[in-house]
Every structure is written in C-alpha cells, then in structure tokens.
C-alpha cells in the first residue's frame, strides 16, 4: 500500500529533551492501532529551529505545523489528522483558517525568514541561465527596457526605501540619481564583492547561488544612469563564485542579455570581472576604485563622492552584492511592495551569516526589525551545548557587541547604531560564557591593524596603540588609566581617520567597554580572566576532593606537567604547564579548576 502521509517529528536536541522520542514512539503505536501503519511514515528529523515552541511535529503533504506537542497528543493526531483528515486545530501554530502565507503581513510564518536576496539560492542551478529565466529572471530588465524611463526606475527605488547593504546604509536611489544627473558620456557601474569581514559570507553565497541576479541588476543600473560598462570587483579567494559569474556572463551574452543592443533595443552594456588581492580596505569604495584603476588600494577623502567622480574620475554607481540582488525584485514586485517589509527606518530584509556558538549556524534572511532573540533562538536554535548566551558581535571588525539586555531590540540601521554597533555587511557572531570579551576585542583590533593601509596616521598609529593596550591587559599588565586612554584614542580615531576602516576600527573596543567594563577591570585590577581564556591570567589546578586518580589527564598532557599515581590525587606543575586546557577538557569528574 502506498504511503499517503508523512509525519515528521523534530529530533533536535531541544525537542529530544522535551519528550520528542516518546511522541515518536506513541505515534508509531497509535498508527498501528488505528490500522494506518502502512499508509503513514513516521520519521525523526533534524532540528527545525523554533525550539522554544518544541516539540514540533509536521505532517506532510498538508504541511501542518504542530507545536508544543505532548506524548499524549499522538493518538489524537493519528485519529483526527491521518484517519479522518482533519487538522488538530488546538496544536497548530498558525490557527487561522487561511493556509496562505503569501501576503507580507503574514510573514510571521514560523520560519521567520523571508527570502528576497536569497530567493533563488538553493532553488536553481546557478550554472543554467534557463532556470533563472524560468523563475522570473530578467523580467525586471525586460520591463525596464520596455516600459520604464530612467526616472521611473529611480522613483521605484525611492519608493522602496532600499539602503545600501554594504555597511553605511546610504539610500540607493539617491546614489543612482546623483550619477544619472551628472552630464558625462562615460559612466560606470561597479559591484563591490570584496567581502572581507571575518565570519561574513552572504555575498559569496549569493554570487555562487544566483549570479544572474547581480548581472541583471547592474544592467538595469547601466540603463538608468546611462553607463555602458560595469565591473565586478571580487576577491580572488572566491574561485567558485568567480567561475559561476564568468559562466553566467557568457550565457547572458549568448542570449543577448549583455553586450551590444540588449534584447533588440539600442541599449548596450557589458560587465567585466576584476580580482582583488584580498585587502580588507578595498571593500571601502574609494580604495576599491583605486585598486580597479590599477593603483594601490588606498582610500581618498570624500567628497567628491564616487557617484560624481568615481572610476577614472567618471561618475560611478557602486553598490554591494546584496544591494544589487534586491533590485530585480523591487522592479518586479514594485517599490511599494518592498517598502511594506521591514521598519520605518529600514526597508526590506537583511541577510545575516549566523556563526559562532550557535546551534544552527547558517545564512538567514529576515525582514528588518526582526529581533536578535528571534534570530538566535527561533532560527538559530539557541546557544550550542546549552551554554549561557553572553553577547553577539555584529558588523564584524567595524561593529560592536550586543548583550542579553538588548536581545529584544528590533534590528535595523538605526537601532544597531544606537546600541553602538552597526549593520555592517551582516556577520553575526554569537558568543557564550566561555568567550573572553577582551580577547575577542583583541582579535578584531588585530585584524584591523593588519588590514590598515597605513595612509592616515589616526588609523595606522591609533589602531596599533589600542591593540598594544589590549595585549597588555590580556597579559595582566594593564593599568587602570588604560581604559581612559582607550576611550580617548578611540574617539579621536573615529573623528580623524580618512575612511570607514579607521573610523570604525575602535568600535569593538568602545562597545565592549560600554557593556563589559567589569570584565576589563577584572583583567586590570584583579589580574583575572573571568572566562578563563587569557592564558597569562589563569592557572589550572586539580581539586583534591574530586580527583579519583584515573590518570586520564596525565596521559593527555602534552608537556607531562601532571604527576600522580593511579588512584592517588594528581598534581599540576605550574612551572611546566603551558595552559593548553587539555586536562580540563579531558577530566570527566570536574576535578580540574581554572582560576
């Protein structure tokens, strides 16, 4: 007998602990008892996220989503849903009659995600232009070339409220409009694909999964502002994205969607790829343009802005990958549609790369205004290994931390800035109780110091000085005055640095000083690292009342610092110990103490 239904029981650790296993068994028993054992398959699945509403049971093909299911509900689910074909209303997450989630107001779908930028990622074969075309690809270009004037396009963008997704959040329509209004026979379109923030990879995934969306958007921009040439500046470390872009460009040319007389009109536009050598500063637009011209990648003062004087001193529209990927959808569905999504100040969605101590790491795209709690707990499934949430770092080396108290802040440009962080490109690194805030901050400062181009002294000297102070503090040599000095230097850098790199480099310090001053003081005054991360400040000891003398730690110690006989209490020789922590991880009896 053929299967007609599939019951999926969430088997993530969150739901496992909430009796998912018992539900699974009860469902099996109930199905047999009701005589539907042959037509329904009951399965355990991976984690669906949304663990707070767990245990979760989903029944296909109806796509019924049941939450907070108890083991005793199993029988009802089988008898009602499977046998009689009636949904068990009281357990449904979405109790409304309509099963359609198409309208924007309905996107509080349990998944919480809404995919505009990533609409095709994971759907289409990125190496086949036909699949893109079949999913409304190049409809926007068609419409723009066929029925819209450049001013119409700008109007649509203005209505949408789209802001640049690269970090600074400048209104996209305004940028385009500046370039459109400048009289010049040569103009350029540039795609910034120099994604460099540690932990951010949404641009790479977009280009790998849906290269045509960016090509289509750049062509639309070319038509709108009157440019005939576009460049994609992409880091050489993204070979797969580069290959897929190249293939996509060739296919588009073959179809007449790039090149001379596009789609039989008299509009011509072509795109070339330029590889970056992986300097972080080249993500800054003026440095990127310098690098495109073949010069050393260093920023220059603005104004004049690239929109007026950009590549080879010609008016240039430069946007980041994620911004580009939004454009075709805005044309397709209209600026008004787009403007319904998100908050007053920030429209649309944002892609975040959720990494760190999170259970379900991955790329998530959520409407602006979604709270951190929803992202971390509902989508991300909470903190890995049931540890305590400490903070989340957003905006990479230019951003700051957000603590527990602010988990319910809606995420948009304005709110993140108020919290002393920023949207940045959308890296989101989750930290738990084991992460030392000073150590993490030192990592980010180390990154910006390495990546500073050295042109202006606030960044070159200021960054190094800040780094040195953090280094001192993590070694227990910090002084109380250092905190004031770091504030001073940080503020000066913000004001005096030439480009975004230097202006934002002190953000991790200023933000962590704001929320975790106590932790800095513990390092400075008590010479202690509360999270046990800063090696110079910690020692490992063996607790005599817990050690059973199993010798496991002694065998694992790489420097043989642990002595002791079988069944007798062991000892760590502090002079030999290199504080690698292996004994701590090895001990099954919590007998190793970090202090």
């Amino acid at each position: 007998m053929a299967l007609t239904n599939y019951i999926l029981v969430c088997g993530g650790t969150g739901c496992e602990s909430a009796k998912a296993d018992q539900i699974y068994k009860n469902l099996l028993t109930a199905a047999q008892a009701s005589g539907v054992g042959d037509t329904v398959q009951i399965l355990k699945t991976g984690c669906f996220g949304f663990c707070e509403q767990g245990p979760i049971v989903k029944i296909l093909p109806e796509d019924s989503f049941y939450v907070q299911v108890k083991p005793e509900d199993a029988e009802e689910l089988i008898k009602e849903h499977i046998v009689k074909g009636r949904e068990v209303k009281r357990l449904l997450y979405d109790k409304s009659e309509s099963k359609k989630h198409a309208r924007v107001e309905d996107i509080q779908f349990y998944q919480k995600q809404f995919r505009i930028v990533l609409r095709n990622c994971g759907f289409i074969n990125p190496e086949d232009i036909d699949e893109y075309i079949a999913r409304e690809g190049y409809v926007a270009l068609e419409r723009v070339l066929g029925d819209m004037s450049p001013d119409d396009v700008i109007q649509e963008l203005k209505k949408s409220g789209l802001k640049g997704r690269g970090g600074a959040g400048f209104p996209t329509w305004l940028k385009w409009n500046f370039t459109k209004d400048v009289e010049d026979d040569e103009k350029y379109i540039v795609c910034n694909a120099d994604e460099g923030d540690p932990g951010a990879y949404m641009d790479r995934s977009t280009l790998e999964g849906d290269p045509h969306s960016v090509l289509e958007a750049m062509t639309i921009a070319g038509y709108t502002v009157g440019a005939q040439m576009g460049y994609i500046y992409i880091r050489a470390e993204y070979p797969l994205a580069i290959n897929r872009l190249k293939a996509a460009m060739q296919q588009a040319r073959d179809y007449g969607l790039l090149g001379e007389d596009i789609l039989g009109t008299d509009f011509s536009f072509d795109i070339e790829i330029r590889l970056g050598a992986g300097a972080f500063v080249c993500g800054e637009e003026t440095a990127l343009l310098a690098s495109l011209e073949g010069n050393r990648g260093m920023p220059r003062p603005r104004p004049p802005f690239p929109a007026v004087k950009g590549l080879w001193n010609k008016p240039t529209v430069i946007n980041n990958v994620e911004t580009w990927a939004n454009i075709p959808v805005i044309i397709l569905k209209g600026g008004d549609w787009f403007a319904q999504i998100g908050t007053e100040d920030s429209k649309g969605t944002k892609v975040f790369a959720l990494t760190g101590k999170i259970r379900n790491s991955g790329l998530v795209e959520v409407p602006m205004g979604t709270t951190l709690r929803e992202i971390i707990y509902d989508i991300g499934g909470g903190i890995a290994n049931d540890k305590e949430f400490k903070a989340v770092q957003t905006g990479g080396p230019s951003g700051g931390v957000i603590t527990k108290e602010y988990l319910d802040t809606p995420i948009d440009y304005k709110h993140l800035q108020e919290l002393g962080s920023m949207m940045g490109s959308g890296g989101m690194i989750v930290m738990d109780e084991d992460d030392c805030i000073v150590d993490v901050t030192k990592f980010y400062l180390g990154f910006t110091v390495d990546e500073s181009c050295g042109k202006c002294s606030p960044c070159r000297v200021g960054g190094r000085t800040l780094y040195n102070m953090l280094d001192k503090i993590t070694k227990g040599e910090g002084e109380i005055e250092d905190i004031d000095k770091m504030h001073q230097i940080g503020k000066a850098m913000k004001k005096a640095s030439l480009c975004g790199l230097g202006q934002t480099a002190p953000n991790p310090i200023l933000s962590t000083l704001r929320y975790f001053e106590k932790e800095y003081l513990a390092h400075i005054k008590e010479k202690k690292c509360p999270s046990g991360k800063c090696k110079e400040l910690i020692s490992y000891y063996i607790l005599a009342d817990k050690c059973i003398g199993c010798m496991a730690c002694a065998r694992k110690c790489p420097v043989a610092a642990i002595t002791g006989e079988r069944r007798k209490i062991h000892r760590i020789d502090q002079d030999i110990c290199i504080k690698c922590g292996i004994c701590y991880e090895t001990c099954k009896f919590d007998a190793i103490y970090v202090g």
Binding site: Q41, T45, F114, C121, Y138, G209, D254, T265, N360
Partner: protein
Amino acid sequence: MAKMTLQELRALREQKRKEMKKRDLSDKTMQVVIGMGTCGIAAGAKDTLNAFIQELEEQQVSDVIVTQTGCMGLCYVEPTIEVIVPGMPNIIYGKVDPEVAKNIVRDHLMNKKMVSDHIFDRPAADIIDQGRK
C-alpha cells in the same frame, strides 16, 4: 542560441516554466538537487554527488536527474540536498554523506519512503512562486 529580442525572451520563459512544471508533475522524472556552494563542497558535497551517481548506476535507476544549486543556508547540516519525487512532498535532507546518499537512493527514490533523522526544512517560503499563478 542567437541573441534574443524581448518577445523571444518572453517565449523562452514560458517554455522553460512549463518544462519545470512538467518535470514536477510527470511520474517519470525524479530530481536530486545538491547544494554546491563553497560551504557544501567544503563539507563534502562532491563525495555526496559521486555517491549518488554511483548508487543510481548500481541500482540501475535511470529516471533521476542529479543537478546542483547554491547554498540553501543550512550551513550547520551541510552537505544539504533536495529530493523531488513526483507524488511526494519535496524534501530537504541535511548531513548527507555518501552512506546517507545511498539510503536516500534505496529508500526515497526507489521505495518512496523517506529517510529518518536527516530531514530538514526549507528556511523560508518561496516568494517567487507565490507571485505566480
């Protein structure tokens, strides 16, 4: 293909849409779509792909198209794949190593039974499909 005009592009889109739909409806063609972004490949998607091709050959299942796509966003369970079998709900599987791939061929593709413990969910509803009638 030669360069297209607006009308030709529209015609091509209609044709491709129908083809994709047909693929979903006909009782002949099944699809295995493998997430082949950098993240998937780093997690072993190429081995998974090879395992599928090998197992399909060994089991002499010929009406399956194995294709690739980009990152689905479920990086914690890469490699991820989607299995589309006419008459069954589309299913996303995560942590698909060569061993699991073989099980999917035998159970899901051949016997129309899903494989436990590896089913995941598509992270969001499809906005493109919603706009289309």
